[in-house]
Symmetry: C2
Subunit: 541 residues, 2 copies
């Protein structure tokens, strides 16, 4: 008798991970990673020697399928389970990674007629060449008072769907005309697996301006950007489905290619970061998930919609069905510490951690604004930059390192303040991600600065585990999965033992510093200080 | 026929340098350095095992004479000149380095009755244990509206004479009662050489609150600090003599000990930094001397007295007789760059210099406030601290290094602004000191930021050369010296060939940045930003 298992497919930037998880225990039985053959396409298209412009980043959709053809059988072998054990499949995907497809759902870039046209290809999440389009989208939305803008903190990103679609239209109207739809990579893969062409509410909501109440923005809005762009509305068809809902069964052809049973339940996709939320045991309001890596993504479920200051996004059904999913972000966390370790002449994190741990709260009189990569939440201003104050001839590298960690903690506290100001409470933080696992000092400082207990998710593959949980929910209880996210989380998601509780004395010390940090935040985040930072950023350009 | 020579005796913190210089050419014929036997006394007195309190720094006055007994004959030998060639002797000395002496001018600490009393010893310039006394002096002077306070930027230092004297009185009234006078080390040495007990106007003015117009502060002022301290006025006797004036001839006994001719003219002393002014060819108004080392001292001659904002000191006859000598200072320059090189994991200045030279003006969007050791001029606030803004993930160590140099240059420009606001023009800068010689990049940036040409003094021993020039002036023209500083400078002081002219394009770039730097300076130097910095300093304490 084999334990029922779910398969999580975690599509990253360079590779996909297939993870086989027991649905009753969450035991991760086996996993395999397969790299994409073409990797990130940044210089030339696969069948052309013409150079791509700067800031372009593309993918090859064939890579995704080819990679899971290798990874899934290997994961099954590693897990030591028969294919019959896999009862459900979930997909998480980078986002916004989008491609134009034809009426049959086939990628235009795989059609010989379009293969040499850069705009026919998949624009990867980190394709940054659509900034002019994003600037115009923000200006038009603000001018027209579009309601959606407030759900994204008043500013939308060049990484998102509309900017990337507008770039296609403006740079290659023929590709635009040939495209029947613009789809997220995760939705396209689910379509390949099942034949069902739906959109996941997570991608549509956080990256496509969609909301359960309003739908997508109107054709009039899109037409205001370019008369021809009104047709984007036609290219956003398909049912919007919350992540984890069953969208169909695995087709026989795909079952054959992957070595799985035909008809296996496949769930609507989810964005990779958001997939970590159920994997971190969070399927209810009041517990914030922080995915702490090179940057930090904060996700919080709540029962109400509220205009939280400078939020990254708020989407009904965007993460866990039935809840408003709020997202915020800090764009430089691990990257910031890595920058400092490099500037400090090495990269000996272990020594910095050790020494910084013996520096008292407040880093001996240093404060920092952690805006080395701008500010993405509360202030939503990419032109802001990093600041250090309180430096003396006695200041040590370990003190600076600690001040930088404390700065990211104060920024997190400021984000929590924004939620609580709208009466959306946060009573606990669950940390996920490489940096969260590597730096006990960081978790200690975050607990003390935010005065919140911090738990750590048990899985080292949280996104893939979350995807497997979607598969288990899609399979349903009668097939060996779960009837709800609450049940799935109860069985499959775990926290590491031991929760970090705030130390009252350290928390008092940070409370005493916070008004000064806030004064710096407000001086440089708004008004003349922000204008100065913007001028300095121009000096770097 | 031997060229007439002057002897400069440059008394530093750890050693004395004797330099033999031809009076007609400035040719440095020979020099010798002798260390002080007891060095800086910081832990225990020579004849006691009792530990000194923190922040104490003492010297042994016998060391000074013993050291020149070794250094002068060695310098003569190195110069290859007979003792008859030496026509005049000048002394420059660290300051404020002061000692209590008896009615005969003998140091109390060399009297067995007082040798075990710490307050009987020489308090070296960097003795920092009199801060409470300095705080009270500042408060009392402000409360009483003492006129002298404005000549020191509104704040006097714990390093200066009155604070050190008040510490003697308060901590050891018996030593105080036994002291007939409190004298500067330089004046005491000149007294030993000649038997003439005078005070040099430089030390009295910059460190003793004396001015040509007002004299020393009144006994009433001193009594306001402590009724017994009114007697300080009695302990400040002696004629006040401009540096370079002949005060007497070398006594036969001293001539014998040093291997010189009796009756050789000896000049009134000068502070070591100020001695660099004539050595840098500056004996007229409008040319600022900057001694650039671990810190920077700015000195400027002018024909008028004016209330320059936050000046370090202004003294008539303090540097060159007939002129008002203005002093300003930046307390962290070479120390700041050294701090950064250490934080950046090494100390490879050559590599930082080379890379920073190819970074454009403005350090790619970085600005810094160079207050790592507080601000000593304009703002006069030791509680200020360093600030860096504009940091991004792309910021390199070389960019930060350049931003730190630029910050010290902006601070210099702000000091020039303060002079020019009082219609005291500065048309050229003459740089002196180790850092000025080692960093062409620094001189280039200073020229561009200040829009002033920068010349470099030729001598590597500027203070000792300046002292020799004092000796030449004291000797007078009929004995092979000079009749005036102008003549002495014309013959003995030289600039290196080539003057660094401001580059108009770079100067324009800095002009564009300067208002933003000033906005930071004013925000953090005054008002709420300064209060924040003061709180941060307390966090370090």
């Amino acid at each position: 008798m084999t334990e029922p298992c779910a398969l999580g497919l975690d599509f990253g930037t360079a590779s996909v991970r297939a993870l086989i998880v027991e649905t009753r225990t969450g035991c991760e039985r086996g996993s395999a990673v397969a790299e994409y053959r073409h990797g990130v396409i940044e210089t030339t298209l696969p069948e052309s020697s013409e150079r791509l412009p700067p800031d372009w980043a593309l993918q090859h959709p064939g890579d995704w399928i080819e990679a899971i053809e290798r990874a899934v059988p290997e994961a099954l072998r590693a897990a030591g389970v028969p294919k019959s054990a896999v009862v459900g499949i979930g997909v998480d995907f980078t986002s916004c990674t989008v491609l134009p497809v034809d009426a049959a759902g086939a990628p235009l870039c795989l059609d010989a007629r379009w293969a040499r046209r850069p705009n026919a290809w998949v624009k990867l999440w980190k394709h940054h060449a659509a900034q002019p389009q994003a600037d115009r989208i923000n200006a038009a939305a603000e001018r027209r008072g579009e309601a959606f803008l407030a759900d994204y903190g008043g500013r939308t990103s060049s990484e998102w769907l509309a900017a990337k679609a507008l770039q296609i239209l403006e740079e290659d109207p023929e590709v635009w005309a040939a495209a029947s739809a613009i789809v997220e990579g995760g939705d396209w893969v689910v379509g390949e697996l099942t034949g069902a062409r739906v959109r996941n509410a997570c991608g549509a909501g956080y990256k496509g301006f969609w909301s359960r109440e309003r739908g997508f923005p109107s054709a009039e809005f899109f037409a205001a950007l370019d008369p021809r762009f009104g047709s984007l509305a036609d290219r956003l068809g398909g049912e919007i489905v919350p992540p984890g809902r069953a969208v169909g069964g695995l087709t026989p052809a795909m079952a054959n290619r992957l070595g799985l049973e035909p008809g296996t339940a496949v769930a609507a996709a989810i964005i990779d970061a958001h997939s970590a939320v159920p994997a971190a045991t969070v399927v209810e309001a009041g517990r914030m998930v922080m995915v702490i890596g090179t940057s930090t993504c904060h996700m919080l479920l709540a029962e109400r919609h509220a205009p939280v200051e400078g939020i990254g996004g708020v989407v009904k059904d965007g993460i866990v069905e039935g809840f408003y999913g709020y997202e915020a972000g800090q764009p430089a966390v691990g990257d910031l510490f890595g920058w400092f370790a490099k500037v400090a002449g090495g990269g000996d994190f272990a020594a910095l951690e050790r020494e910084a741990a013996s520096v008292p709260p407040g880093a001996r009189g240093l404060l920092a604004l952690d805006w080395w990569n701008g500010n993405r939440s509360v202030l939503v201003d990419a032109n802001l930059s990093g600041l250090l104050v309180g430096l003396t001839l006695a200041t040590t590298p370990a003190e600076i390192y600690r001040a930088l960690i404390e700065a990211t903690a104060f920024s997190t506290r400021r984000i929590l303040d924004a939620f609580e100001a709208q009466r959306i409470p946060v009573r606990e933080i669950v940390a996920v991600g490489g940096l969260a696992e590597r730096s006990p000092l960081l978790l200690r400082i975050y607990a003390d600065v935010t005065r919140r207990p911090i738990a750590l998710a048990a899985s080292a593959n949280a996104s893939a585990l979350g995807a497997a949980m979607l598969g288990a929910v899609a399979a349903g209880v009668e097939r060996g999965g779960h009837s709800s996210f609450v049940d799935a989380a109860g069985a499959m998601a775990h926290l590491k033992p031991g929760r970090i509780e705030p130390d009252p004395k350290a928390a008092d010390a940070y409370d005493a510093l916070y008004p000064d940090w806030l004064a710096l935040h407000d001086h440089f985040g708004r008004g003349p200080g922000a204008a100065l930072m913007t001028r300095l950023r121009r000096g770097r350009a």
